[in-house]
Symmetry: C2
Subunit: 350 residues, 2 copies
């Protein structure tokens, strides 16, 4: 899934160049490319699909030159994850009705890939032997209030459990209780299922969407698919797969995993996941000379010099035409700031 716009990472994440296409760590690979690199050992290259917004078609082709362009599904509109996943499921079913699927966002960070590989292989084994909608639950390392949590139920195999409930972003008090209880895991938005299982769930919980898609059943996997989607997709409800399906279905399982994961949803999470210098500052790309400044994250165009004094726990993000300076504690307000900017300047800085 590669169609989001990552507005909390503005001004780096822009509508024309969202977060997943950015080389956030200065490694030479964007988050999308890192995700592709992570998946290719697990899934045959020709079976990898990228679902993205049609405006990012060129970016995906450019960043993934060895991906067959026919494997890029272009959404004509943004409709959150459920219609995206539904389309991919119909597309895959037309090619192989017995397929097993892993669905993954393209803008997350995973630091321990060997463990990730083991978990994914274990998950494939599970969904191939069970009628299951499987989600990966990340062992929480702190009372994070920016994530959704999964409460675990009955264990069916070691590390594989029924899901009891999904809980949206809790407040800090509740998040602390969650983490201490040992019963709650972060919802990473990485899902595994057989194509039949997800199609069945979609028919049950999104019957209107499926009845529309079923009208074009013969077109999926053919040259007529694109035209069909372009006319059908915009009428789909904008809804997440969590809300539409996972929170309702009764065959939802969680694999409890611990492979160093971050959704990189915010500047703070980039800070947490980046190496810090002796003054606990994080520097991306630019040169920094800092006086009496700690706990900041600095990001600026290649080779720019940032000289700071007296800054504590700030985000300083210089994206060329936009400079954002904001306390890390205020990062949840960045989305509102982006709205304010759009209201004042239209799409100029979007």
């Amino acid at each position: 899934m590669c169609g989001g716009i990552g507005s909390r990472f503005w001004p780096y994440s822009r509508s024309g160049m969202p977060k997943q296409f950015i080389d956030f760590f200065g490694t030479g690979r964007s988050l999308l490319q890192m995700t592709y690199d992570r998946i290719t050992p697990l899934v045959p290259r020709e079976n990898i699909l990228v679902v993205t917004n049609s405006r990012y078609s060129d970016l995906v082709r450019e960043q993934l030159p060895d991906l067959d362009p026919a494997r890029i599904l272009l959404e004509p509109d943004r409709r959150n994850t459920a219609p995206c996943i539904a389309w991919a499921a119909y597309h895959i079913a037309a090619i192989d009705p017995e397929a097993s699927i892993i669905v993954t966002p393209s803008d997350h960070l995973i630091t321990n890939e060997p463990v990730f590989d083991q978990c994914v292989n274990r998950g494939f084994e599970f969904i191939e032997n069970n009628d299951a909608l499987l989600t990966l639950g990340i062992k929480p390392t702190r009372p994070e209030t920016g994530y959704g949590y999964i409460q675990i139920g009955r264990e069916v195999e070691p590390g594989l459990l029924k899901v009891k409930t999904f809980t949206e972003k809790p407040d800090l008090e509740l998040a602390k209780v969650f983490v201490e209880s040992g019963e709650f895991f972060w919802n990473a938005g990485i899902f595994m299922w057989r194509v039949g299982a997800i199609k069945a769930a979609l028919h049950r919980y999104l019957p209107d969407l499926c009845s529309e898609f079923d009208k074009g059943l013969d077109l999926f996997g053919t040259p007529g698919e694109k035209e069909f989607i372009d006319s059908t997709f915009p009428a789909c409800p904008s809804i997440s797969i969590d809300f539409a399906v996972m929170e309702k279905a009764d065959n939802v399982y969680v694999e409890c995993v611990d492979f160093g994961w971050s959704d990189l949803g915010t500047w703070g999470s980039l800070f947490e996941n980046s190496p810090k210098n002796i003054a606990s500052n994080v520097t991306q790309k630019c040169n920094v000379v800092a006086y009496n400044s700690t706990g900041n994250i600095f990001m600026a165009p290649d080779d720019k010099l940032v000289v700071v004094s007296g800054m504590k726990d700030f985000i300083v993000a210089d994206a060329g035409d936009v400079l954002l300076i904001c306390p890390k504690t205020e990062e949840q307000r960045i989305r509102q700031m982006v709205n304010d900017v759009q209201q004042r300047f239209d799409d100029k800085y979007m």
Copy 2:
């Protein structure tokens, strides 16, 4: 005088484009051009000399296109104000040994030009009738610790007094005493004298420099002047006219004036002299969206958007390849920061 590099205004003031050449107020005129505009009603255009460093020759020609290039004196090296003023005096003496001179920095701000005009005309009248080295003393409006002060002595005409002492930058305690006493005025570095008076003083207080210049006496005002200066100037001591002459001579007078003056020596003085918005922020050139931020000065390239939250009394100066973020209270340390940057990156960001 147009040869300084204004390092306290880094990163806007750069060795290749110092402060005096910058349009700091977004008016379309640089400080040099504003100075030229201020002087042209008082001094015939053909009598205006610009003394600058040879590397700024093109900048001066470009910014003052109607100044005859022969009126630009190019210093081969930076030697502070005394050698600069001495050269100009020798040059002018060769053209008109009876000339009256006003010497002015090219990077100051004067807000009340009609009063400035009156003061200058009054000053010319005084030096033409007295053997005087005249300096303009600005009525202080606050206990500024960044300026030198002039203590006044006996009044010889209304508003024209003998100078008792010059005092370098005082501490805050002393500055308060100075301002309350009514006896102290800011030393603006604007001087007026007849060419004979300054040459006599230079011979007395800088005899070595004058004996060198005297060797080329026939060359000033001729095509041979440049070569002579290029070989003589670098051996001159680097010394200010205040220290070399004004603090020593006994015919030094001050005209006490009040025409809205700032040396614009620092970001803080630019802040003080700029219009503020409702949140007491100053914005130069860029667009600013500020949350919970007051008392800041923002300067960034044309049309850049600066979004800030939780900043109080900061300088935010984005000069394209360098971004400076520094509390206004730390602005006296900018010079040291520039040194640190030079040490680490050589001349890359100078």
